[in-house]
Symmetry: C3
Subunit: 349 residues, 3 copies
């Protein structure tokens, strides 16, 4: 792709950000890679001035730069074509999509797929080998179902949604449009509902449903259970990483991001634009406000206010946590001080 063409396509897609393009030969670019891996003829990027040293040594022929005159001059002096933007990472993401498109099989239904006659299948659908689709299922237009997927009865799958290999969609689940369910994920299985009795656990049937709204992405081998009654719901455009567990009856708001190995117990309510970092756990019924952030491994046992940043287990405000972490390292020394104080005071008396 010509550099001029790249500029045109990128500026069209991110019109809200001004691309200040510098003069450059209209060179041909054949690929895109990280700054320390890019070869001649490739495009790369840096996020900010602290990566300036890379501009000095990269073999890349073109760069996406932050808005920074020094970096621009540096690139020009090395004969590197560049464009600058207040959001280099976003433009880099856009650019990757110009050089690379993920594997997407052509619409077709493999003869080895077992599809119940009582199903509704949209147009331009791909259904791979050994897929199983049971009665009462509705599949939207442009859906892509990779091999070995199992869909239980009465499931709805919205248009253009992608189901990767060996994932399982349980009975009555409703999956919106433009979702991605990664390999091995399990949607809508029975929640963990057992009532203790003198004779042991009594199994509560899980009559509820799991609903994923449009644009939701669920990572590999993640699990989203359905509840005894009511629904488990993941709202629009929320993204879940791998090995995440969402318990029965949770509601996760819009545009959230839950990193790998996060676990929500039952009935948790998460607001919009919430970020939970890796391995965070949230206890039963806890409520997390909009735009709250929990740092890695936090254990949330009670409600978190909107906008709050929490850390540690049990979770406390991040600022307090940072102070405590610093003090914690000095506990042995503090302990000595106290003993010394005690001694001094005793001597005194």
């Amino acid at each position: 792709m010509k550099f001029s063409e790249l500029l045109k396509k990128l500026s069209a897609s991110i019109t809200q950000h001004s691309l200040n393009t510098a003069e450059s030969t209209d060179l041909e670019l054949w690929g895109i890679d990280a700054i320390d891996r890019a070869e001649a003829g490739m495009l790369s990027y840096i996020e900010g001035p602290k990566f300036a040293a890379y501009v000095e040594k990269t073999a890349a022929s073109a760069l996406i730069l932050p808005v920074d005159e020094t970096l621009q001059t540096q690139a020009t002096q090395r004969g590197i074509a560049w464009l600058s933007t207040p959001q280099p990472r976003l433009v880099f993401a856009e650019a990757i999509g110009l050089f690379y498109q993920p594997f997407r099989p052509a619409p077709s239904i493999h003869p080895s797929a077992i599809i119940d006659p009582n199903t509704t299948i949209g147009d331009q659908v791909y259904i791979g080998p050994h897929v199983v689709i049971q009665a009462g299922v509705t599949i939207g237009d442009g859906v892509c179902i990779h091999p070995n997927v199992t869909i239980y009865p009465d499931v709805q799958i919205g248009s253009r949604t992608i189901l990767h290999a060996s994932c399982t969609i349980h009975e009555r689940s409703q999956i919106g449009a433009d979702c991605v369910i990664h390999s091995g994920a399990v949607i809508g299985a029975e929640g963990f509902g057992f009532v203790p009795t003198a004779e042991g656990w009594f199994k509560m049937q899980q009559s509820g449903v799991t609903v994923l709204e449009d644009g939701v992405e669920v990572g590999c081998n993640s699990t989203i259970d359905r509840p005894a009654v009511g629904e488990t719901r993941i709202q629009k455009n929320t993204k879940l990483d791998n090995l995440v567990h969402i318990g029965h009856g949770c509601r996760v708001g819009e545009n959230c991001a839950l990193a790998a190995q996060v676990g929500l117990a039952g009935g948790v309510v998460v607001g919009n634009q919430v970020i939970l970092a890796g391995q965070v756990g949230v206890a039963n019924q806890a409520k997390i406000g909009d735009k709250a952030i929990a740092t890695a491994q936090a254990g949330i046992h009670s409600n978190v206010k909107a906008g709050e940043i929490v850390s540690d287990s049990p979770a406390i405000p991040n600022k307090l946590y940072l102070k405590i972490s610093a003090i914690r390292k000095r506990l042995p020394e503090i302990y000595k001080t106290i003993k010394e104080l005690q001694r001094q005071l005793n001597d005194h008396q």
Copy 2:
């Protein structure tokens, strides 16, 4: 279902608890849902007096109540049929089973299933599409094997056990009657056994077996390994949630509940009726006594006594943990106090 019929069926199933039924029109109920979601004609429940406000506004036509006169009067005044019980949650669980039965395919063997001729298959068995059953496997009566399941050689599956989609049962595993293995779970795979040598890791073959006794439930994408020698055993009626890991050679007692993302390292011994909350980890060879409880994210490195409640990592008695958590929040203030004491004492001298 008529309300009178409901009372009869519930009282039959929970004879050990007296149902004090109030006068009510013998109304027809068509469904069951949570108190804040139930519509007219539906049954719901509340667990205790703290949910009294819901009784005032629910649209439910019938309620399962705790034994509480105020609540009963409240319901009567709103024209809501009710029954009361010391265990509302249990009766609600029973009632769900009257209105809802989980999807259960009729007995049949799908022609796309690949079943080794050298297997023993019981009566009234369902084997779904694309299931693979290898040589030497024995399947009990009434077993239900959902699509895309793989069973390695010489496995035994007890009567009425359910294997959900894409789960894998490894060679020589023994699974009891009335078990449920949820989608994607892996039973009896090789334990993580590597001996360090000067040349790197030496792989210890895993010749042992995994045994699940009757009534065990294993959550989606959970993994229970087999050991080098001997067995990994999950005893009767123990329930494991999703994404749980049980290492090689563990023994988990009867009627335990292990919540999502719990991990047991190798050779852990867990007593009966133990509860491990979400994301708890247990180190190699640790022993946990009967009826012990570990709260979420606890890290158990040494033995836990019967009946003990432990928290934190490394795990300590829960009561001590609660005290420490309270003090922990005041560490910055405590630190200042110490510095102040030091200053005062120095001034003194």
Copy 3:
């Protein structure tokens, strides 16, 4: 197997360790088990003198012992044949392999497997029922692919590698020779790459690849993502347990061991011979030096030096952690002391 034969085979395989075989009847051994489970005619082992009591009561007919005269005499007196070695656990591992070989299907390609014609399949390959292999895939000699596995396009699988049931290998992944991918694992799926914008998450296409070098083992339901650009790489002979997550762009060195439920965020760099115990989490871009060790549940947020042992979250040197853990338990008492000191000092003034 005759005891003399066992000695010969073991001494051949572990020539670097001298086996000091004692006089013994050349008995026939039919199996191998743990010291507390072994029956007459079986071989077992103990790791060190602290297990001496077991030698007194075991029913085993032969024992692998550490180099310890007391234990040797003890065994002789009970008529137990024995061999001793500085590495009893390693020799035991060797011996298991003499009595037990894991299930390994004979080379063959099942007719229900769907294999794209545009693939290269080596000699002596086993491809099980319902396996799906897409275009551009190369499979080495002696590879074993268990049922229900899915391989996306353009994947390379090295010789003798084993893919267990229902695992998924995504497009362009490169897997070396002698690897084992356990059931349900997902290799090379899209990394969790979303750029925040005013309109929500912008998906960064993941054009990179995942590379597993020779001898890598990946546990059940573990996930190793591919990055936006560049590669995620697991180097030679590194072993991953179950439910491990490796984020996009990580590099894990040679001969590491990552225990169950470990999670690495994006771009983490791990040296050689590193050990991460269960449920350890590592934050974005952190670097861990050669031979470092992180104890269970550690949360690593910044770089760890070669050889360092770290614990806790955020991770600190293990020695400091042990001191702090001891002091932590006395925090309530310390708090009282401080209050008392304050009171005394006030009385003084």
